[in-house]
């Protein structure tokens, strides 16, 4: 697995038995820690475990990525958010980019089990960023890989691949697209699917605190209306989302995040180098 991405298997029987595709948990890594949302990538009700796949970005994600087998996480709350809409739509195209690949896994599974023809398009910077390949392949009728550097599959972004695919297969317009990944990627996918009127669902990642609708930190604008990402989402109709606002709000704490991260790195430098 990619060095910057770590999967944690957490024992939480209640959440494991409840989790549905598209839902997330809020995690606190230490007593002084932030509350951060993480998607439930896989859940195993029988074993009582959930899988959280985390991209190392700032302090909290780094701290989580540095955990060892047997360690505890201070708090895990969930499952939160409205589950993905799963139905037999016909042909469903599911697109995951970067760490956004992880949350597509339960959706791909559920869409396949609901009887859809599933086209998975997975994108990463390079081949080492491709995660959950086996599971995705198993539940997909078509599996396409895109890498930024062309080290595997299509060279370029998932949106570029999608555009090409739609042109080459004019008769096989998907009935629905689900896109999860960086904001720019989701926006690019929506730009591709917009003209053809293909319904496109995106999973938004606004900054959250409680994850239960209490604070409004996670405000997003959809169809000109303010919605709370944590309780009204995280999935929304991508053609109605104000991605500019989402991007802007994701940068609110840039300066503070830098301070936190530098402080963390100082303390953990030796550990990080190993």
């Amino acid at each position: 697995m990619c060095a910057d991405t770590v999967s944690l298997i957490i024992f939480s029987p209640v959440i494991a038995s409840k989790a549905k595709a598209g839902q997330f948990v809020v995690v606190r890594a230490s007593e002084e820690g932030e509350r951060i949302p993480l998607t439930i990538a896989e859940s195993d009700a029988a074993a009582g475990t959930i899988n959280l796949t985390i991209l190392k970005r700032g302090k909290t994600s780094s701290l989580l990525c540095s955990l060892n087998k047997g360690d505890y996480i201070t708090d895990v709350a969930g499952p939160l958010g409205i589950p993905s809409e799963i139905e037999k739509f016909g042909t469903v195209c599911i697109i995951g980019g970067g760490v956004g690949i992880a949350p597509t896994v339960p959706i791909i599974k559920a869409m396949k089990e609901a009887g859809n023809y599933v086209i998975s398009i997975i994108g990463a910077r390079n081949c080492s960023g491709l995660i959950f390949e086996d599971t995705i392949k198993k539940y997909s009728d078509q599996y396409h890989v895109c890498t930024d550097d062309g080290s595997m599959g299509y060279k370029g972004f998932v949106s570029g691949f999608l555009s090409q695919y739609l042109k080459e297969n004019p008769g096989k317009k998907p009935d629905r697209v689900v896109a999860i990944g960086p904001v720019l990627m989701m926006k690019a996918v929506c730009d591709v699917t917009g003209p053809g009127g293909i319904k496109t669902i995106v999973s938004l990642n606004p900054i959250m605190v409680d994850g239960t609708g209490m604070c409004g930190s996670c405000r997003v604008e959809v169809d000109g209306k303010t919605r709370f990402g944590c309780v009204d989402g995280p999935e929304f109709d991508g053609h109605l989302v104000d991605f500019g606002l989402l991007n802007s709000r994701l940068n609110i704490y840039c300066d503070e995040e830098k301070v936190s991260n530098e402080k963390y790195m100082e303390k953990h430098e030796c550990k990080m180098k190993i």
Binding site: V14, I15, K18, R28, S30, E32, G33, E34, R35, K59, T60, T74, D75, V76, A77, G78, P79, L80, V209, D210, T212, G213, M214, C215, G216, S217, R219, E221, T226, V231, L245, S248, R249, N251, I252, Y253, E256, E257, V259, S260, K263
Partner: protein, 476 residues
């Protein structure tokens, strides 16, 4: 009503003033503003009480504390017993003594208050609670010894660990039920921990009250969001005979004006949660950040707005505006908090309402406000603010905090459609907390809308009795 109880010829003692941190220094820290009565002050203050034959003070207290009774015990320096007297009716005196709007409750009806300043009932209550903590070995909190797990067979559930839920859980545990308290957040206390700031209610006091409830044998399940982690029906099916819902009024309202989603615009809930629950004022030692600016504008006029404004000051703002659409007399905040806010240099901008928030590069820069005048009284009896056309002007600001009220959070009720709600989404419950769903009771802010700590506690207590009755008789 005439003051027939008033005894003549008493030595006139002025109401004792509580020691406070001075404004210039307290705006630089988050420590408690009020320092509490000394023993001498408490004794002197107790002397002021007229020991009325028909004490009106108790009528003003929502949980009917025997105020005259506990003051009499203070006079006799029997502090532990005085504390016990309060605890008969109120298990959280350390909290109520600090945050009750006494001027509208017990002290409003105090007979001494007719001609004089009322007895400082709240401050005396706080004194006793603090005394109890200092001397915890010989007070009831330390040695309740009520952990008789063996006799606990009937299970009861409480949802939400705010003042309503904690009180109800404590009462049920004392009656011998096996109580599980489900709380969505990672810490107990509700608004007491995420909303009311440290400088007004130290979190150690709340922790003390939580410990007391735990010592009664209540099992607390944190990080458990009912409606998501569990549903009401699942809880009932898993062997709980009765449920008390006390999920509060946690949904923040926004103004619905342009620019409200700009960076730097907070709901009071988010602002206060970041600072209090997540300890944002200790960033970066604690991880959760909160934005700071030299000019902060808070919209609203209640306790929540005052708490936000005073928090902004302590986070280093040079100028803090409190923008309120009515005038000072209509402000719902506690008089003491308004006074404290003024002393701390909060600038009150009355009869003014924001109409738009303007930004640059995604960040808030100005609030466009319109001046208001007071028109005819509305349903609440207060004069309705009316816009003065053409009076718009801009206020420069780096951060805005919207503190115009909270509604009912629908996370729980969405998954229990069979529980009756009113048009605002509040659960409908009768005066003993009964909802329309068998076995399910509710109380506190989720029923009344945003109210007070003591009313929430009162509701928890009343419901506990009703639940006991229901669980014993099965009669709904």
């Amino acid at each position: 009503m005439q003051n027939e109880n008033l005894k003549p010829a008493r030595k006139k003692i002025p109401r004792n003033k509580i020691a406070e941190q001075q404004p210039a220094s307290r705006i630089k820290n988050f420590s408690e503003v009020e320092l509490g009565f000394t023993t001498e002050q408490a004794l002197l203050e107790s002397e002021r009480c007229l020991m009325c034959k028909k004490p009106k003070c108790t009528d003003g207290c929502p949980v009917e504390i025997d105020i005259k009774g506990f003051i009499e015990l203070i006079k006799e320096k029997r502090f532990s017993e005085a504390l016990e007297k309060i605890r008969e009716k109120n298990t959280m005196p350390g909290i109520c003594g600090r945050v009750c709007p006494q001027e509208d409750q017990c002290e409003k009806t105090c007979i001494l208050g007719i001609k004089n300043e009322p007895v400082a009932i709240g401050k005396l209550e706080r004194f006793l609670a603090d005394y109890g903590i200092k001397n915890s070995k010989n007070n009831s909190q330390g040695d309740t010894g009520l952990k008789n797990n063996n006799s606990k067979k009937i299970k009861a559930a409480v949802i939400g660990a705010g003042p309503a839920g904690l009180t109800c859980a404590g009462e049920l545990a004392k009656m011998g039920y096996a109580v599980t308290l489900f709380e969505a957040l990672h810490k107990e206390g509700g608004v007491l921990v995420y909303g009311i700031p440290e400088f007004r209610l130290p979190k150690s006091i709340v922790e003390g009250e939580v410990e007391y409830v735990k010592s009664l044998g209540v099992e607390i399940k944190l990080n458990s969001i009912v409606g998501k982690t569990y549903t009401i029906d699942e809880i009932l099916e898993s062997g709980y005979s009765s449920i008390f819902i006390a999920t509060g009024a946690g949904l923040p309202y926004f103004l619905g004006i342009p620019g409200e989603n700009l960076n730097g615009v907070y709901s009071a809930n988010e602002y206060l949660t970041r600072v209090n629950l997540m300890k944002g004022y200790l960033f970066p030692a604690w991880d959760t950040p909160v934005k700071k600016a030299s000019i902060v504008s808070v919209i609203g006029g209640g306790n929540v707005a005052l708490d936000s404004a005073r928090t902004a000051k302590r986070l280093g703002a040079e100028k803090v505006y409190l923008i309120y659409r009515r005038s000072e007399v209509e402000m719902p905040g506690r008089i003491e908090e308004i006074k404290h806010a003024r002393e701390e240099g909060i600038e009150m901008v009355f009869l003014t309402n924001p109409v738009e928030i303007k930004g640059e590069n995604g960040w808030i820069k100005k609030i466009t406000c319109i001046r208001m005048e007071l028109g005819e009284p509305d349903e609440s009896g207060r004069r309705r603010p009316v816009k003065i056309p053409g009076s718009e002007y801009d206020i420069d600001t780096g951060i805005a905090v919207i503190a115009i009220g909270q509604g009912a959070n629908p996370v729980l009720t969405q998954t229990s459609p069979d529980i009756g709600l009113n048009k605002w989404g509040n659960i409908i419950a009768d005066d003993i907390g009964k909802t329309n769903k068998k076995g399910v009771f509710a109380g506190g802010d989720i029923v009344t809308g945003a109210a007070t700590v003591i009313l929430a506690m009162g509701a928890g207590k009343v419901a506990a009795r009703a639940m006991d009755n229901y669980m014993k008789t099965g009669v709904w």
